[in-house]
Amino acid sequence: MTASVSLDFATLARLADGEPAWAEEDVLESATTLDRFLASVERRAFRIAQMAVRDRDDALDIVQGAMLRLARNYARRPSDEWKPLFYRILYNGIRDFQRRRSVRSRIFGLLPGQWGDDEDAPADPFEQVAGDLPEPSRQLMADEAMQTLEAAVRQLPERQQQAFTLRCLEGMDVAETAAAMGCSEGSVKTHYFRALQTLREKLGEVWS
C-alpha cells in the first residue's frame, strides 16, 4: 500500500494569476509602464493622503501600501485601469488608517488626563509623535488659503471628500472618479455638487 500527495504548481500559478507566466520582455515593459504610472501619481497621492490623515509618515505608509497592493494584485490589468484602481486602494488605506486611529483615540480617551476625539484639540498624542513636517512643506502648509481649503475639505463627509479630491484636485473625469469610488457616475455628480456647495458656504471669498 502506498500513499501519494502531490501538488501541481502549474495549477497553483494559474490560480495565483489567472494566466500563464509572462514573457521576459512583457515583464520588463510592464514594470517600466508601472514605474511611469506610479511616478506620475505618487506625489499627488501622498498629498491627498496627508490632507486626510494630517501626518507625513502615516501618509507615506498609506501611499506605499497602495503602490504595493496595486503592483501585486492589479499589475496585469490594462494600464488605463490603474488610476481609478490605485485611488480606490488609496482611499481604502486612508479609511483603514482612520478607523485604527479612531479606535486608538477612543482607548486613550478612556484614560484620565488624555484627550478625546475633538479635531480641534491642540495635542493629539499620535500627531505629536510624528507630526513634524520638513521646512519646505511647512512653508507651503502655512499658506493660509491652502490650510483653509484643507480644513474645509476635511470637514466634508467622506464620499464628498473623495469626489472633490478626485474630480477637482486630481482632475479625474466623472467616469474615472466613479470607478475609483466604486459608485455610479450619478452618485459622483451628487457628491461633488454637495461638496462644492458646502465648500462655497464655508470658504466664501477665500478662493477668490
Partner: protein, 127 residues
Amino acid sequence: MNGERWTENERRARELFDASVEGLDAETRSRLNRARQAAVAEVERARRSPWRTWLPAAAAASVALLAVVLWRMPGNGVEPTAQSGDPSPAAEVVEMLANGEGFDVVNDDPEFYTWLAAQELPANGAG
C-alpha cells in the same frame, strides 16, 4: 455665486493643491521614490516566478496532507513503537504540526518539503 465664479474657485483650489505637490521636500520625494521602486520590484519578482508566492502555503498544505495520510495508515500511530522506543515518521510529522513547529520548518525550505510531500511513501513507514 454663479457657475463662472465657481469654476474659478475650482481652478484656484487645484492651483493651491498643485503648488503643495510641487513644494514637497526632497526627503519625502526620496521616500516616495523608494516606495515606488519597491512596488515595481515586487511585481517583477512575482511575475518572474508567480508560483513562489504560493510555495510556502502550498508546502505547508502538503505537509499537513502528508501528516493526515500517514496518520490514517494502519500501524502508524503517534505512540513510539514498543520495540525501538522511537516515534514513527508519521508521529514525528504529526507531533511537529501539533507543536506549531511545522510551518516554520516548511518556510525554511519549502521546496524540499513540497518535494517530500510528493513522494510515494511505504505503507508501514519503515522507509
